[in-house]
């Protein structure tokens, strides 16, 4: 398919313009990609949908390193340039971020001035460091006194090990935009190696310490403390990469979501699926087919987060509604090489699906996604759906009913003649989604079946449905089209 449209041409031009100077910080993070994708679903998580939970997230680092800025961009719909307005954080700025309905993040944005830091480590030590789920420690790449930063980091680590030894630790090497693009990789490796060394040294001494005094703190068998480093900048998508990994482990019922996403993806022949949280547009879960995995853009998850979030802000400027509003509910794109749907999936999520080209495939995928959203509805109201997966049969019948009603109420002419084929398509796909361990073959053949019966790819067939009044409108448009020939 060597067809060249305006967009493929524009893409080439933009890529050329970007080459060289504008290398995103994010390229450095590709090493972490593998570990994210291959996160093994935890056993036992499958059937039991967890109750709402709160997670304490500590955001720490030196004063002025950019903690509040990144928080505002991710969770409060700030633009990167808006963060200039932010002043220094005094003491601790506590915010509760509702994430995916049943997960609330208690974000402790800790002001980084030295006086505060000392206070956290002494008087408020228990208060700050107990029950921590995640520690995010931000290093400023532009810092003048790296040794001192590391010393502070070590004392924070020590307090954390004392009160919340199980907490996940993320290291963000921030403001990477200040480093020349060609140096970024080496600077990042160098800095993260120093942090790693420091952590290792601390872990050793901590293990010795706990061995000597058996009663103090909780015992720490393996002496290694695991950390994950990210190079970030608020000016590109690298921030989304880091935060998506941070929240990834916190999302409840992740294995359940991943499993059903995979089933949906297979049923609609998708190349790739991304599930976004609605306010932050962070990727909650992700699935790609074998073909989709071949995509050379390893940073596409955070790219899409970034693109869609700034699009949301553009719409907010247009509609004059607050940025926190939903802004759009549907976006599609069809070209000769691929199709994309971004659709409001559940109340708290958006789903992006990348499909191979084809009109019929697109339409049946759209319907299937709409129906599958029922299965994911528990993401919004945890209590109500908590017991459902225990009785898969009950769950199956309910969506099937919707399936039959679906296509006819859609009022989409393209699907009008397809309505007999519609439900039969959707039913097996749906069953695959809810009944666990269903063989994939049934879905595989079922979903495209809609295409053969209904999906004549030409639009003419689709538009044959509308009334005769509309046909005259088409006529008049034809007239105008011919105009220049006179």
């Amino acid at each position: 398919m060597d067809h060249k449209g305006a967009f493929s041409r524009a893409v080439e031009a933009t890529r050329k313009a970007r080459e060289g100077t504008n290398n995103s910080v994010n390229d450095l993070n590709t090493g972490n990609m593998e570990t994210d994708a291959s996160t093994v679903p935890r056993p036992g998580n499958d059937t039991a949908i967890k109750k709402p939970k709160k997670k304490k997230v500590l955001l720490m680092g030196k004063s002025g390193s950019g903690k509040s800025s990144m928080r505002s961009i991710i969770f409060s719909n700030y633009l990167a340039k808006d963060t200039r307005r932010l002043g220094a954080t005094i003491d601790i700025d506590l915010s509760h971020v509702k994430f995916l309905g049943n997960l609330t993040l208690n974000l402790w944005d800790c002001g980084g001035q030295e006086a505060f830091m000392e206070n956290y480590l002494s008087q408020q030590r228990v208060h700050v460091f107990s029950n921590v789920g995640v520690l995010i420690y931000v290093f400023d790449i532009d810092s003048h006194d790296v040794e001192r930063d590391l010393a502070t980091y070590q004392s924070i680590l020590s307090a954390l090990q004392q009160f919340s030894p199980g907490a996940n630790i993320f290291i963000l090497i921030h403001k990477m935009d200040l480093v020349k693009p060609e140096l970024r990789e080496s600077v990042f490796t160098e800095r993260s190696q120093r942090v790693r060394d420091k952590t290792k040294a601390f872990a050793k001494s901590w293990a010795r310490h706990t061995a000597q005094v058996p009663g103090s703190g909780s015992p720490n068998e393996d002496e290694d403390i695991e950390i994950q480093e990210f190079a970030t900048s608020i000016w590109d998508q690298s921030l989304y990469k880091a935060w998506a990994s941070i929240i990834h482990d916190l999302v409840p019922n992740l294995a359940y979501i991943e499993k059903h996403l995979e089933q949906l993806g297979k049923a609609i022949e998708a190349e790739e699926l991304m599930l976004f949280e609605r306010t932050s547009f962070l990727v909650v879960s992700y699935w790609a087919s074998k073909e989709g995995m071949r995509n050379p853009y390893s940073d596409r998850q955070e790219r899409m987060s970034n693109i869609l979030k700034s699009w949301k802000q553009s719409i907010s400027r247009f509609s004059g509604t607050p940025r926190s509003n939903e802004q759009f509910r549907f976006l599609d794109f069809k070209s000769s090489g691929f199709s994309v749907i971004v659709i409001k999936f559940t109340i708290n999520t958006f789903l992006l699906a990348v499909l191979p080209p084809g009109e019929a495939r697109f339409n049946s995928a759209k319907l299937n996604i709409e129906i599958a959203s029922e299965t994911f509805a528990f993401l919004d109201v945890p209590g109500q759906y908590a017991k459902q997966p225990a009785q898969p049969t009950a769950a199956t019948t309910q969506p099937t009913a919707t399936a039959q009603a679906g296509p006819s109420t859609q009022q989409q002419p393209a699907d009008d003649d397809a309505s007999p084929a519609g439900p039969s398509t959707i039913q097996p796909a749906m069953a695959g989604l809810t009944v666990q361990g269903e063989p994939g073959s049934q879905q595989q053949s079922a979903s495209p079946a809609a295409g053969t019966k209904s999906g004549s790819p030409s639009k003419a067939a689709g538009a044959a449905g509308p009334s005769s009044a509309s046909t005259t409108e088409v006529e008049s448009a034809t007239g105008s089209g011919d105009e220049p020939q006179h």
């Binding site: 305006a6 003419a460 509308p466 105009e483």
Partner: protein, 401 residues
């Protein structure tokens, strides 16, 4: 509206097909060399290159005081440079000539601010202004602009005597950060100074237009759109087609965009508002970004076989409804759809639709298909005319509707 880019050309010049960019540049250089050596006007002998380039390629001249922002403008608009990076642009030492491959090929000539082409010998006025599309004069609104205005005045007077059909577009630039009242005050002041000077010399209704611009928002694209639109032959027909599409499909606003520069080359008759232009332009960005990630790598043969096999049993090319990209977004506020459709290699049609009309999409798409065919025909026809008539410029046009 005055369209005549080549009006008043009487010398018969052999027609040369729009050669490749390189060739044009070589010709251009040769001609200048010949000029320097012989000290003669190269009008007859070396002329063809200029004519060949100009026939299908109007020329935009960027002029103004030094540091007024000319190079920044051309970098942002034609090279997609982020506005913040223009701070690092070096000052322009010599005339930068660039050819824009677009729906209509045009040249952008960026003149260094320190050179006054009228005072400096060695510039061939005919070569510069002979086949011009428009002269864009950039004035820094945040600076003392009296000198700039004085120079502009003398330029306009010089041009009016010899090349009276040149469109003069004044960009009152760097207006970001100025209050709305202050902007209008400046615009009024500059307008009056120029109009007074012109009428003192007996020129009434000179083709001078004023735009308030900044590279930090969409105003520069908007201004360029208006400049380019004046150069399009039979713009009226284009507008009439879009207006009729808007009427039949009940669109609120439709724009025909040049995708790369995000200049709109035509719109329907409804008044243009900044907000609708911005959202359409941002929409194009979104589509470009998505296409970059998913549309640029080749899919495997295995996948293709699978997609063409059971149960579809059709080559992939037959499964798609159109080779041109199309897209639609539904905005939550008022349930308003915006649709986008690729027209040809350079252009895209973007339209803001009436609230709650998303379920009429198939019908709308059919209508759009027809109009798009019409648009493609339109460009075929106008192109053929421009090229077919050798020495005589494109015919003078009135508004179609």
């Amino acid at each position: 509206m005055d369209m005549g880019s080549g009006r008043g050309r009487s010398t018969a010049i052999p027609y040369i097909s729009p050669a490749s960019l390189n060739l044009t540049h070589v010709y251009e250089q040769n001609r200048q060399r010949v000029q320097k050596q012989d000290g003669t006007k190269a009008e007859g002998g070396g002329g063809p290159s200029g004519q060949g380039a100009a026939r299908g390629k109007p020329r935009l001249l960027l002029m103004g005081q030094r540091r007024s922002g000319k190079s920044s403008i051309s970098s942002v608009v034609f090279h997609k440079m982020p506005p913040s990076e223009t701070l690092f642009l070096e000052s322009t030492a010599r005339v930068q000539k660039e050819s824009m491959k677009s729906f209509m090929d045009f040249h952008v000539w960026d003149f260094p601010g320190q050179i006054d082409v009228f005072d400096t010998p060695g510039y061939d006025m005919d070569a510069i202004f002979g086949e011009i599309g428009a002269l864009i004069w950039v004035i820094d609104a945040q600076d003392d602009y009296l000198e700039a205005v004085a120079r502009l005045n003398s330029t306009i007077l010089d041009l009016q005597r010899q090349y009276s059909n040149i469109n003069i577009e004044v960009f009152i630039h760097k207006v970001d950060g100025l209050s709305d009242d202050y902007k209008l005050d400046i615009q009024r002041d500059i307008t009056i100074r120029i109009q007074d000077e012109l009428s003192d010399h007996g020129f009434e209704n000179a083709p001078v237009t004023f735009h308030l611009t900044s590279i930090y928002n969409h105003s520069i694209f908007e201004a360029f759109s208006k400049v380019i639109q004046k150069l399009i032959p039979r713009l009226g027909t284009l507008e009439a087609m879009l207006t009729s599409l808007c009427r039949t499909c009940r669109f609120e606003k439709a724009y025909l965009f040049d995708v790369l520069s995000k200049i709109y080359i035509a719109t329907d008759s409804a008044p243009v508002d900044m907000a609708s232009y911005e959202i359409c332009s941002d929409y194009i960005d979104v589509i470009i970004d998505i296409s970059e990630v998913y549309g640029t790598w080749p899919r495997s043969e295995e996948q293709r076989r699978q997609l063409e096999g059971e149960p579809w049993n059709m080559p992939l090319e037959d499964q798609i409804s159109t080779v041109w990209a199309e897209s639609c977004v539904v905005i939550s506020d008022g349930n308003k759809p915006i649709m986008l459709r690729e027209v040809d290699t350079y252009l895209a049609l973007v339209a803001i639709m009436k609230e709650g009309t998303h379920d009429k999409m198939p019908l709308v798409n059919m209508n759009v298909d027809v109009v798009v065919k019409g648009l493609i025909d339109f460009f075929e026809i106008t192109k053929a005319k421009g090229q077919g008539i050798g020495g005589v410029g494109p015919p003078e046009l009135g508004q179609e509707s």
